[in-house]
Symmetry: C2
Subunit: 117 residues, 2 copies
């Protein structure tokens, strides 16, 4: 009872527990409804990979997919998700210093931009 409710919540958090999926949510929050093609172009994801992540989000009903002719348009299911991410940002700022040290730990990958080596 109480228990499966927690499982429900955990499932949603799990769906949010990936950088690419967070990027997707943030993009949808900022841009509204967009086609998959634009989505994976913007986020520099492989098409298949983006589709897999979208499937995860769909399975938790976090996003809505709508077919429009050739393409599929995605949008956020509920503003609450945007709010949650805003809270995360707030949290991030509140604990900026140690957040930075956490980021330090993460700074093993993510070179991403490199100015002509």
């Amino acid at each position: 009872m109480q228990n499966s409710l927690r499982q429900f919540k955990a499932g949603i958090f799990r769906a949010l527990a990936h950088p690419s999926r967070i990027a997707i949510i943030e993009l949808l929050r900022d841009e509204g409804e967009i086609p998959v093609s634009k989505l994976y172009a913007r986020l520099e994801l492989e098409q298949a990979n983006a589709s897999q992540h979208l499937a995860v989000l769909r399975s938790k009903h976090l996003v809505i997919a709508r077919r429009s002719g050739n393409q599929v348009l995605y949008s956020l299911r509920d503003r609450i998700l945007g709010t949650v991410l805003d809270l995360m940002r707030e949290y991030f700022h509140a604990h900026l210093e140690e957040s930075l040290s956490l980021l330090e730990d993460l700074r093993t990958d993510v070179p991403k931009k490199r100015k002509t080596p």
Copy 2:
């Protein structure tokens, strides 16, 4: 940059992405600071298991551990986490119907209570 920030957020969501850890957070939110012994008694978790989950929460700085003599007292690091969980409840209610169908899907385990079949 933007990317490792998302990784940071994802890490926090991942820490929340387990029913037992959600239960821990909710318990700390409701009870304030409590010793581990009380925590795993209340949640009916194995001692080692509870400790492992607490380690996950600690690693993301979501909880604070304070030693007091023999025992270790845990508390929530930031009210924001409670707020996030409240939002989740709000979300749950907003989409109650389909949430219920999601719960149906989960109802593979969690028999828990059964009225003599």
